[in-house]
């Protein structure tokens, strides 16, 4: 074992698991469609997530059109607005971000970065994608059923989620809950794979403390997801029973539109606890892979080792653990026992400490670096700004008494979009620019990339930064039309219109990005195997794009950590992880 992660060693222990035989595709179908290759599955996950993500993007346009210009668009009424926000939120959080980070980046990068041939259970990994695809189809089918998709808000709070005052009560809510159940089944199959692969299939010399932070982030997020999603699974099954079978898990005795209902004895707050027991870790399930990936982007493009690697790893693990005891900070005004507030405010603010350490270490990595302002680096810088901004407003909402006036206002909407919308998306985009050459063998167009970055970053900031101040003023969320109230000045409407126009432009920039993805596939500059001169194993494959099995005849052997950039005395400003130390000094220290 290596005591100090950044010291390279010659002695490499034998592998824990012997090399594996893979199932090699025998036809076009098993090569490209029902493939068991994690890289193909990763691309399938990514394309599906992007496709449904585009739906969510269009929904956000429609929402912004309504908010910016209420009453102008006759095809958007109150019911549809609620359906749009619900589907937008659920798609973005679960079907886009979770699927993309874990199913997409996880599948592509874990085996390559740990030096494995594939995931340890390739068949189950393939099934994971197909169940995910089914979940997406079930979700999207809600647009075509009578009554349309559910408009319960992405939090799906009962009782309203299954009562007739909420749009989508007929089929929408049933499809939503069924789709979530499917998603969780599919995710569990993939998630077990990611965890076991990281634990069991690392190549010789790849100790845990030599893993790139990308793998640490995805690994920890997956462990969390495996523990958190069951709570949502249970909640979804129970609510489905309440809706379809008339049980009363979450339904107290109530009167709907003057009619006495047959429900009784259930607890709406129980659902909220279950939902947020999943929902808060979910924030970090999205954030931790982003933390990991952005660490590697910054290190590679600043040509400098990540600062404080060990602290970064412990911060990821600490955040992952703490995020399971903060969930009720989403429920300060839910009517739960008020004394919970003391506990959850304290745990929530404590989580700021490991999170702040990560931020410091990112900027300290830039300090005295050799910063190449490539497109991935720009997105990493954009991530730091939006994440710091969104993280700091979290200190408002986490501090129970400050949350009271701000909860359920646009401040909350601005906060979570900044911290778990814009910030992770910055990382997703930066990561695509970074790894696209490995996936396709071609570079994305840089000029288009820079334009894409500036419009996306500045635009998103212009939308969500001022939005906080609408919340401070008191503008509530989930209103299709704010209407008249004494505290609302005309300037509120002006700001809403401004944000809507910017949102349209930011959305168009994403279309430009999609164009770049397709155009560069055919016309992009050939990248070679390691265009960024990076140290991690995925850049050292014999072929680009890597073939099935990743490594040719022999698995790589790892001698050093993932961050040997600009090592003094080294001939180049990076040393790949699989490069043996050149020499041994008399003291036995290796370089």
């Amino acid at each position: 074992m290596v005591d100090v992660p950044y010291e390279a060693t010659v002695d490499v222990p034998p592998a824990e698991v012997a090399d594996v035989e893979l199932y090699h595709p025998k036809s076009w179908w098993t090569q490209y469609v029902f493939s068991q290759d994690a890289k193909v599955i990763a691309i399938q996950y990514s394309l599906t997530a992007t496709a449904i993500g585009l739906v969510a993007l269009v929904l956000s346009w429609l929402m912004r059109l309504q908010l910016g210009f209420p009453g102008t668009f006759s095809f958007i009424d109150a019911n549809q607005y609620l359906q749009f926000i619900t589907m937008h939120g659920m798609i973005m959080v679960i079907y886009l971000l979770t699927a993309l980070f874990l199913g997409g980046f996880g599948n592509y990068l874990i085996p390559l970065m740990v030096g494995a041939r594939d995931m340890v259970f390739p068949y189950v990994n393939m099934l994971s994608y197909w169940v995910y695809l089914l979940a997406v189809i079930v979700l999207a089918s809600a647009f075509f059923v009578p009554g349309g998709p559910t408009g319960a808000g992405w939090t799906l709070y009962p009782p309203q989620a299954i009562l007739s005052g909420t749009p989508g009560q007929d089929w929408g809510i049933i499809l939503m809950l069924s789709s979530l159940i499917l998603f969780i089944i599919g995710f569990t199959m993939g998630g077990l794979n990611y965890v076991v692969t990281v634990l069991q299939a690392r190549t010789r010399g790849m100790t845990l403390m030599r893993l790139p932070l990308t793998v640490w982030g995805i690994f920890t997020a997956t462990v969390m997801a495996l523990l958190a999603f069951p709570a949502l699974f249970v909640a979804s099954v129970m609510m489905l029973f309440d809706r379809v079978l008339g049980t009363s898990f979450f339904m107290p005795a109530l009167v709907e539109m003057g009619q006495q209902m047959k429900y009784g004895g259930g607890s709406p707050i129980l659902f909220q606890h279950l939902f947020w027991f999943f929902g808060h870790p979910e924030v970090y399930i999205v954030a931790l892979p982003a933390f990991g990936i952005v660490s590697d982007l910054i290190s590679t493009h600043a040509r400098k080792n990540i600062f404080g690697y060990r602290m970064m790893v412990w911060a990821i693990v600490a955040i992952g653990a703490l995020s399971f005891i903060v969930w009720a900070h989403h429920m300060y005004v839910s009517g739960m026992h008020p004394h919970f507030g003391f506990f959850f405010a304290t745990t929530t603010l404590i989580i700021a400490i490991p999170t702040a350490i990560k931020v410091y270490n990112w900027v300290l990595t830039l300090w005295r670096g050799d910063i190449h302002l490539t497109v991935p680096m720009l997105f990493a810088l954009g991530f730091i700004i939006t994440f710091v901004n969104g993280g700091l407003t979290g200190l408002f909402l986490g501090n129970v008494v400050v949350d009271v006036p701000l909860s359920d206002t646009m401040f909350v909407v601005a906060h979570f979009h900044m911290v778990m919308g814009v910030a992770p998306i910055m990382v997703v985009l930066g990561a695509i620019y970074h790894w696209y050459p490995k996936v396709t063998g071609r570079m994305l167009n840089e000029a288009l990339g820079k334009l894409h970055f500036w419009v996306t970053f500045l635009g998103a900031y212009l939308i969500f930064f001022p939005m906080h101040y609408l919340g401070l003023l008191g503008v509530p969320r989930r209103y299709h039309d704010i209407g008249e109230a004494a505290f609302l000045t005309p300037s509120v409407h002006t700001l809403n219109a401004f944000m809507s126009v910017v949102a349209l432009i930011v959305g168009l920039a994403q279309i430009l990005f999609l164009f770049n993805l397709v155009w560069s596939l055919f016309k992009g500059k050939a990248s070679g195997g390691n265009p960024w001169r990076a140290t991690t194993l995925e850049w050292q494959t014999p072929e680009t794009p890597p073939g099935h099995g990743n490594w040719g005849k022999e698995l790589p052997v790892v001698y050093r950590w993932a961050y040997d950039y600009s090592v003094p005395g080294a001939p180049e400003d990076f040393i790949p992880q699989n490069q043996p130390p050149a020499r041994r000094t008399a003291q036995g220290a290796a370089t």
């Binding site: 404080g308 005004v333 190449h372 400050v402 039309d481």
Partner: protein, 277 residues
């Protein structure tokens, strides 16, 4: 260079926007100015951190961007620096949390002399109930709800007979008197939200929630619903009128009690219902 300047401008722009924003909280109307103070403390601490981090980052980009011949410094870790930063952060966090918990303790400790009023939410209107001359409100049950008894009061409870029932009207409150607002819903989640009061709380069917406050200035305030409650969520409005004691009592005198309301409606029903019960 350009990138560094833009990053710095984002930080400066954010601070200027904060200072000159025309969108700021509404003038407070209750005793909860402590909450506003805690928000201000939080703004100061987070604002300093935000500006420092972004400005430092912009400086790094300006100073260390790639040039021919530049080599990055090799510096894996610095335990001392990392610990100092952690301790500094912990102090900043404590400086926000301590006042926050202190004020929360006040928020959840209802003064003994607070009078009770009840707000009931239903899709999509507000109803209010005030205790009658006996100072106590009668019991309720959602199973009692009928067109004649929209708030579901218990007909056999003597304390409920003199309760003042205001169905889908406006709530009046006397200025300067602490009030415990009991919150109830008969169908879905709602949230009694008056921006000027700062305090708010969800209303949950099957249970009674509450918050307390002391109105400190007179005026008419908009009531909104802050918890998504279905299609007409945005239209679920009412008003609270905070007024001097004399005006408040004059208003209270004109309100109907539960006994008056149910007696009268019962008679009307009996007259018009063919066959009768």
């Amino acid at each position: 260079m350009v990138v560094a300047v833009i990053l710095l401008l984002v930080a400066i722009g954010s601070v200027l926007f904060h200072i000159y924003s025309p969108w700021w909280w509404t003038p407070i109307a209750t005793n909860w100015s402590y909450i506003d103070h805690t928000i201000n403390i939080t703004f100061w601490i987070t604002g300093v951190v935000f500006f420092a981090v972004i400005a430092f980052m912009a400086y790094c980009v300006f100073r260390f961007h790639h040039k021919e011949g530049r080599q990055a410094h090799y510096n894996p870790e610095n335990k001392k620096l990392e610990w100092w930063l952690s301790i500094g952060t912990a102090i900043g966090v404590a400086a926000m949390l301590a006042p926050g918990l202190f004020v929360w303790h006040q928020f959840v400790t209802v003064p003994a002399d607070a009078t009770e009023v009840e707000v009931m939410g239903q899709q999509w209107q507000w109803s209010f109930r005030l205790p009658g001359k006996d100072g106590r409100m009668g019991t309720t049950d959602v199973r009692n709800i009928s067109p004649e008894n929209p708030m579901g009061l218990n007909r056999d409870d003597p304390h409920g007979q003199d309760d003042v029932v205001i169905e889908s009207g406006e709530l009046h409150l006397p200025v300067g008197k602490p009030v415990k607002v009991l919150l109830r819903s008969v169908d879905v989640l709602h949230d009694f939200y008056v921006p000027e009061f700062r305090a708010k709380m969800d209303m949950v069917p099957g249970m009674v929630t509450y918050f307390w406050m002391t109105p400190i200035r007179t005026g008419t305030f908009d009531v909104l619903c802050a918890e998504l409650c279905g299609a007409a969520h945005a239209q679920m409005r009412s008003k609270v009128i905070v007024e001097e004691d004399a005006e408040y009592h004059a208003w209270l005198e004109q309100q109907k009690t539960f006994a008056e309301l149910s007696g009268r409606t019962a008679v009307t029903k009996a007259t018009y219902r063919p066959g009768g019960k």
